[in-house]
Symmetry: C2
Subunit: 216 residues, 2 copies
């Protein structure tokens, strides 16, 4: 449970602020656009209109006592950068900033931004991988080329059991669980007959996962 | 290996097109802004300038034969929507579209968009969760409140072994692997002495994962 500020209330900033509040944190939402602040007044416990380029404004808002701040200003590079500088100068421990280009990223790095976020790039990579591997619904990289992957099943394998797929023997892949709707089947996973809509949660090396994806 | 078109070359569109090409696909990159197309000419095998609102232009580019198309136009709602309509009308099997609001999303749904992407919202959620759970470096939801999570370790646990943490007995959490740099330790994971910078890859229910996060 922490004290967070979000500066700039576009789609990204509004989402961060709302989610943090839902998770039980104290959130201060800030935007210079009074119309925007009025529109969002119902959504937030603490919301205020201010120009965050101004370090004195940041100080007056008490931002020096916050655990973290998110600079979510997009188009205005100057405001984004000046706000980042001001927050670090006030001693905010974690300042995360949305960047719009590699050059912007380099500047923010030098100014001490603790984490730099590129939403369009990060989701762009995920979209490309999802299009390329249509059966992969979600994944995390474990390093050493290992991934935990949630795979959709094709019709060809329904009515078999997971045991029939021989994931370990044929592909060197370990099955963690079978996901059916909102249910997770872990104990009888190998003997359960597969149905349409089921998903496999597996772990293995990329080359083995691709071999499996080819037969799905 | 497929045939993909990306319409609109902002940060998101450019990323999708580049990643798809790197993954070995045939990619056609399209933008109406000739300056943009000239700037990106070196980056893509196939890049062309065209106004994608015009269904005849889409047809002339042969888009009816593509496996999938990504509509990556941001600000211009009309262009985004007309392009989506045109692609579905040409029979492109998978049309994925970047949306800028819930209202835009509803319109795209009705027009038959196969997947609708909200980069600022999706990354906004991830940022909020990362700020709220600072030890969680990555995760996938398995359903039934189970998550696979990559956790950073705090200094308090280095020099213990994973076995000392008694993840199963104390927390009901299963350890999948220990991640050290780019290396994944799976076989001797329970007896390996933990070092600073190590990460644990675990699976368990959210309430148990939080209990673990509290002692890290
Ligand atoms: N100096 C400033 N002080 C406070 N707020 C600011 C300042 N400059 C810009 N903003 C606010 O930041 C918000 C987000 O900026 P902008 O709309 O440029 O970002 P965006 O990248 O398009 O947003 P998103 O992609 O998250 O929807 C705007 O509502 C704007 O009013
Ligand atoms: N009718 C059209 N035909 C082709 N390209 C178009 C059309 N309308 C807009 N575009 C292009 O789409 C590209 C992306 O649009 P825009 O810059 O509005 O999106 P954005 O959401 O700000 O981008 P991103 O967030 O991905 O950087 C622009 O380069 C623009 O030239």
């Amino acid at each position: 449970h922490g004290k967070f500020a979000v500066l700039g209330l576009g789609n990204f900033g509004t989402t961060v602020a709302q989610q943090l509040e839902e998770l039980g944190n104290e959130v201060l939402a800030v935007d210079e656009d009074e119309e925007r602040v009025n529109t969002l007044a119902e959504e937030f416990t603490h919301i205020v209109s201010a120009d965050v380029r101004d370090e004195r404004a940041l100080e007056e808002l008490g931002l020096g006592d916050f655990d973290a701040a998110v600079v979510a200003i997009g188009e205005n590079l100057e405001s984004n950068i000046l706000c980042t500088l001001g927050l670090k100068h006030l001693g905010v421990p974690r300042v995360w900033v949305k960047a719009k280009s590699p050059a912007h990223h380099r500047i923010l790095s030098k100014l001490g931004a603790d984490r730099i976020v590129h939403p369009e790039f990060e989701i762009g990579v995920r979209v490309a991988y999802s299009l390329n591997y249509p059966f992969v619904l979600d994944y995390i990289s474990l390093g050493s080329d290992y991934f935990v992957v949630e795979l959709a099943l094709s019709e060809t394998v329904t009515d078999s059991t997971v045991g029939d797929l021989e994931l370990e023997e044929r592909f060197g892949i370990e099955l963690l669980a079978l996901k059916r709707g909102d249910e997770l089947i872990r104990d009888e996973k190998t003997v359960t007959a597969l149905r349409e809509g089921d998903r496999l949660v597996v772990v293995g090396k990329q080359v083995h996962l691709r071999a499996l994806a080819d037969i799905l």
